[in-house]
C-alpha cells in the first residue's frame, strides 16, 4: 500500500546530515586551499615551515587530479554560504542583499542577481536553507544533542517557548538600524555568516575574532533559554526565509490513515512545531527529522501550497478507534 517513494523519504534525514557535513567540511577546507594557493603563488616551497609544508602537500594531493594551475583554477571555488563563488556562479544570501539595500540605500544589480537563485529556491522549497545548508545548523543540532545529554545527566536545560513572531521584529529592527547607521548589522548577527568568517580567520589568519563570542552566546542561549532558540525566535535570516517560503510548494503532510498518534514527531521537531496536529506553518525548515522518526511512515513530502487543516486523530491510534466503536454502537 505504501509506495517506495514514501518509504525512501525516511532516509532523507541521513542525506541531510551528509549535506550539512559536506558544507561544513568545505568551509574548513577552503581556507586550507587558499593557503596552498598563496604558497604556490609565492614559489617558495623550500622556505615553508614543516606544518605549512604538510598543508601544501596534502592540498596538492587533494587537488592535483582536478586542476592544472592551482593559483588560478582554485579561484573558482571561494567564499562561504553568506556569499560564494561556485564554479563561476556567484551566489549570495538574500539577507545580504536586504542588508545592503537598507544600509547603502542603493540597488546594485550584479549583487541583486547573485541572490536570485537562492530566492527562487526558497519560494519553492521554503526554509530549506535553514535545515539543509546552514553551517550554523550543523553546530546548533549538535548543541541540541548536547542539551539532551545534559538533560539525561540531570542538569537543568530550559525549553521555554517564546513567540515565533519575535524574529520578524528582529528582521525589521535590523533593516531600520542598517538604514540609519549605514552599517549592515545582519553581517554581525547572522550565525552562518559569522561561522564562515570565523573558520577562515582561525585557519588562514590569526585566530577567532569578536564574532565567535556572539556565536558562543547563541549556543548558550539555546541551552539555557529555549531549544534551538536562536533559529526559532531571533535569526533574521530565518525570518526572511519564512516570509519568502510562506507559499512554498513542497510541504510535509500527515497521512491520517497511517498515523497512530504516537507524537514522536512533535518531540523530535527542533523548531517546536506540531506535525501531529498538521501544523507545520511557514516555520518548517523541511529538515525531515519527523519523517525519519515516524514509525508508521505517515509523514511524507507532498506538492501543495497550503497545509491541511487538522485531520483529527490518527486512524491507527487509540482515540480514533474508540470514536469509531462508539459511532458503530450508536448506529446499531
Amino acid at each position: 500500500m505504501k509506495s517506495t517513494v514514501v518509504i525512501l523519504q525516511r532516509h532523507l534525514n541521513k542525506l541531510r546530515w551528509g549535506v550539512l557535513t559536506v558544507v561544513f567540511g568545505m568551509l574548513v577546507l577552503l581556507p586550507f586551499l587558499h593557503l596552498y594557493q598563496t604558497y604556490e603563488a609565492a614559489h617558495a616551497y623550500d622556505l615553508l615551515l614543516p606544518g605549512e609544508k604538510s598543508v601544501s602537500d596534502s592540498m596538492e594531493w587533494l587537488t592535483s587530479p582536478f586542476i592544472n594551475d592551482p593559483v588560478e583554477d582554485l579561484n573558482k571555488l571561494k567564499g562561504t554560504t553568506w556569499s560564494a563563488t561556485f564554479f563561476g556562479l556567484k551566489l549570495s544570501d538574500p539577507l545580504a542583499v536586504v542588508g545592503q539595500i537598507s544600509a547603502g540605500k542603493i540597488i546594485y544589480l550584479p549583487f541583486l542577481l547573485t541572490a536570485l537563485i537562492p530566492v527562487l529556491l526558497t519560494i519553492l522549497f521554503g526554509r530549506f536553507y535553514c535545515g539543509w545548508i546552514c553551517p550554523a545548523t550543523f553546530i546548533y543540532e549538535l548543541n541540541d544533542s548536547l542539551a539532551t545529554w545534559l538533560r539525561k545527566a540531570g542538569l537543568p536545560v530550559s525549553r521555554r517557548k517564546l513567540d515565533f513572531r519575535l524574529k520578524y521584529l528582529v528582521l525589521g529592527m535590523g533593516i531600520v538600524i542598517s538604514a540609519f547607521s549605514g552599517i549592515i548589522v545582519f553581517a554581525a548577527m547572522y550565525p552562518p555568516a559569522i561561522i564562515g568568517r570565523e573558520i577562515y580567520y582561525a585557519i588562514a589568519l590569526d585566530g577567532f575574532g569578536a564574532g565567535m563570542v556572539f556565536f558562543l552566546m547563541t549556543l548558550l542561549f539555546d541551552l539555557m533559554v529555549s531549544r534551538r532558540g536562536f533559529c526559532r525566535y531571533v535569526c533574521p535570516g530565518g525570518a526572511l526565509y519564512s516570509l519568502l517560503g510562506r507559499f512554498r510548494i513542497l510541504r510535509i503532510k500527515r497521512d491520517a490513515t497511517q498515523c497512530n498518534d504516537c507524537a514522536k514527531c512533535n518531540v523530535v521537531c527542533q523548531f517546536g512545531l506540531n506535525p501531529l496536529r498538521d501544523n507545520f506553518s511557514q516555520e518548517c525548515n523541511n529538515c525531515t527529522a519527523c519523517i525519519a522518526v515516524c514509525p508508521t511512515d505517515a509523514l511524507s513530502f507532498t506538492v501543495n501550497v497550503k497545509d491541511l487543516d487538522y485531520q483529527g486523530p490518527g486512524h491507527l491510534g487509540h482515540n480514533y478507534r474508540q470514536k469509531q466503536s462508539k459511532q458503530s454502537k450508536q448506529a446499531r
Partner: protein, 194 residues
C-alpha cells in the same frame, strides 16, 4: 494602540535614530593608518556596501588583506584592510573581480585602468629619514614600485620623487630598509570611484 504607547514608541524611535546618526558621524575618523583593497569605494560607501563575506582575503595571493576586529570601531568590524608595512598590495585586482557587493569595484589589470581608478592613497617620502636624502644611495622603493617612472622617479643619489600617478599600493613602504620606514602611504579614504 493607546496614545501613551504611541508617544513612547515615537520617543524611543527618535532616540535610536539620534544615536545611530551620531555613530555615523563618529566613524569618519579612523584610529589607525590602513588602506582599503584596490578599487574600494569611499570609506562611508564602503562600510555600507561591504557585506563582510571575506572573499577578498581568500582570493588575495599575497595574503595582504586582513580583517578588522574591533580596533577601528564597530562600524568597520570584519571589513578588509591592508597594513602596507606588514604586507602590501601587488595590484593583482583579483579582490575586485570576486567582490559580490560592489564595495570593491572590478577593474582590469592594465596600467591605465589602475592609475585612473585605484586610489588607495599616496606615498610620501620623509626626507629626514630617507637614506638617499642623507647621501647614502638606496633606491629600494623605486625598484619595488610596480609603476616605475610613472608613479615614482629617482633623482640624484636615487632620491625618490613620488608623482601624481601613485595609487598607494604600499610596496615601497613594505620594502623600505630604513626603520622606521622613510616612505609611507597616506591613505585616501575620501576617494571617489566612478
Amino acid at each position: 494602540m493607546k496614545r501613551r504607547t504611541f508617544v513612547q514608541t515615537l520617543i524611543a524611535a527618535g532616540i535610536v535614530t539620534f544615536t545611530a546618526s551620531e555613530g555615523q558621524a563618529a566613524r569618519q575618523q579612523p584610529s589607525i593608518r590602513f588602506l582599503r583593497p584596490p578599487g574600494s569605494l569611499s570609506e562611508s560607501d564602503f562600510i555600507s556596501r561591504c557585506i563582510r563575506c571575506g572573499k577578498c582575503g581568500e582570493v588575495c595571493p599575497n595574503r595582504c588583506i586582513q580583517y578588522f576586529d574591533l580596533q577601528n570601531g564597530v562600524s568597520s568590524m570584519d571589513t578588509p584592510f591592508i597594513i602596507p608595512r606588514e604586507q602590501a598590495c601587488i595590484l593583482c585586482m583579483k579582490c575586485g573581480e570576486i567582490c559580490p557587493s560592489g564595495a570593491i569595484q572590478p577593474f582590469e589589470r592594465e596600467m591605465n585602468a589602475i592609475i585612473d581608478n585605484v586610489k588607495m592613497g599616496k606615498a610620501r617620502v620623509d626626507t629626514n629619514l630617507c637614506l638617499s636624502y642623507q647621501g647614502k644611495t638606496c633606491g629600494v622603493c623605486y625598484r619595488a614600485c610596480p609603476l616605475q617612472d610613472v608613479a615614482i622617479k629617482t633623482g640624484m643619489l636615487e632620491q625618490p620623487h613620488v608623482l601624481e600617478a601613485c595609487v598607494g599600493c604600499g610596496l615601497c613602504e613594505r620594502s623600505c630598509i630604513q626603520i622606521p620606514q622613510a616612505i609611507r602611504i597616506i591613505p585616501n579614504h575620501d576617494r571617489a570611484i566612478v
